[in-house]
């Protein structure tokens, strides 16, 4: 069974909000209707968003890490929002595991939002229905698009490739490999919702350069060295050759 999901690499997310705006841009333009904004240019603007980037500071000054944390629907494998829906407007697709809302069936009772521990659902004040990330379901299967574009809008927008998209049930997919090999984890595992989306933790990247990697250790007499050593002001090989 396919379970499409996002894997978000917190190690490279820079908190630029490109995924937030590209998500809004794509999803407000679709045939499902706009993601309404209220008072957009006023003092207290508000509106519907499927995706947000939050920022957390971990640790105590001066030893702190700034973590940018993109947050959207996690497309849980056991979504608590689906069984509580009285109309069946909330459903999880069998074929690809995407959790969707049928805007024509939703009565706007907000019960599903109470049943989501992650706060992934928002009531659109304009359409009066519950909305959430669709994994760009109107994009990823659109055969009129080039294959490279058949990805969620946020994934396409990310300048640091912090967002991976794929089938987490396929052990050979890039997302599965990333989860397996880079310590991917799920949010709030205590509720047994089994989110399909995973996060990759921050990692320390260190390079150790040994002395003999700079000087040839296998040539102690340095017989091939140009003698006398050219001055710093002289042109280097890079300057005089085209390789």
């Amino acid at each position: 069974m396919t379970q499409l999901a996002l894997v978000i690499d917190l190690n490279v997310c820079v908190g630029c909000q490109a995924c937030v705006t590209s998500c809004k841009e794509w999803n407000t333009s679709g045939e499902a209707g706009p993601m309404g904004d209220q008072n957009p240019y006023g003092a207290d603007p508000t509106g519907t968003f499927f995706n947000r980037v939050q920022t957390f500071e971990v640790g105590e000054f001066p030893n702190t890490e700034t973590v940018h944390f993109p947050k959207s629907c996690l497309h849980c494998e056991d979504p608590p929002c689906v069984p509580v829906c009285p109309t069946g407007a909330s459903y999880k697709r069998k074929e690809d595991g995407i959790v969707l809302v049928d805007y024509d069936k939703c009565i706007g009772c907000k019960y599903c939002s109470w049943a989501c521990p992650y706060g992934a659902r928002e009531l659109d004040e304009q359409q009066r229905v519950m909305k959430k990330c669709t994994l760009c379901v109107d994009r990823i299967y659109d055969m009129t698009m080039a294959e490279a574009d058949r990805k969620p809008s946020c994934v396409k927008a990310c300048p640091t490739s912090a967002r991976l998209f794929g089938d987490v049930h396929d052990p050979e997919s890039a997302v599965s490999i990333a989860i397996r090999e880079s310590g991917g984890y799920a949010l709030m595992p205590e509720w047994g919702t089994h989110p399909a989306n995973h996060y990759l933790p921050r990692r320390k990247t260190r390079i150790k350069i040994h002395e003999d990697e700079l000087e040839r250790a296998d040539n102690p007499l340095k017989v091939d060295r140009q003698l006398p050593k050219p001055a710093m002001s002289e042109p280097t090989l890079d300057d005089v050759t085209t390789w």
Binding site: T46, F56, E57, P80, V84, C109
Partner: protein, 325 residues
Amino acid sequence: MHPAFSVIFLTTLIGAAQGLFLALFTAQSYAAFKLLPQPDAHAFYGQGSLLALVLLVAGLAASFFHLGHPERAWRAAAKWRTSWLSREVIVLPAFMGVVFLYGLAHWLDWHPVLMTLPGGLPVDPSAILGVAGTVLAFALFVCTAMIYACLKFLAEWHSPLTVINYILLGGASGFTLAAAFAAATAPELVGFLAGWAAIITLLGLLSRGASLIRNARLKPKSTLQTAIGIKHPKIVQKTQGFMGGSFNTREFFHGRPVAVLRGVKWFFILGVFLVPLPLLLAGMQGGVALLAGAFAMQYLGLLAERWYFFAQANHPQNLYYQSIA
């Protein structure tokens, strides 16, 4: 959670109506066994059912204000297999129908003997409708309460006490209303109904008190650490990603200072339990004003109780919305 007045009115109004119907049929059953004098069926059961029906309709009307698309409300009956809300949507009209027919049977004095129980007790349609209504009233209490009690990560609600509270508090207000109503229409039943109202109110005080004590000791299962999956003990949110409000900041926060919550708590402890109890005991001898006052006080208290019920519930999603910028 942000308390929604539509839901507060829905749950308190239909709770009182269910309790009132249970009180009516309890009185009818006692009277059938000659344990109570037979009241004027027209006035007491007929008009009493009408009163219950009015409360149910008012509650149902209030519930529509909770919906984004009230015109699609009929769809909510679809998923009764999995959703307690859907079950409530089915049981509520069914109960309303039975209350209507029960009242009608009494109103029209339609009492043909359908069968006779072993003790020689005649069974008429109102008895059968009464039993059906009783089953549905309890089913409705369970459905309403389970809407909240089934949400496992709202720890304040996820407890059998929620169901017990809904039954006892609805029952208490309904019996109090029945006692006040009987003081006007069937004075011979006042002592019985006011007595039971006092007993149920006292039981409600015990169970609601138990849930207050339980909720005060709850330790949230989710923390900022599990919410973002970073194990460091010291994590501070620097921004929630936007500066204006969103659905997440409006729906899940009550936005009132702790002092207000504490005030509402003591108001409902007084209003639902401590003030009506002596009024009910004093009203057992009759006295419309005393009993009507007891009901008014108790209903007002129940509005506060339901407000507190919602406000006290701490949703784990709030962990993600601690700091604007």
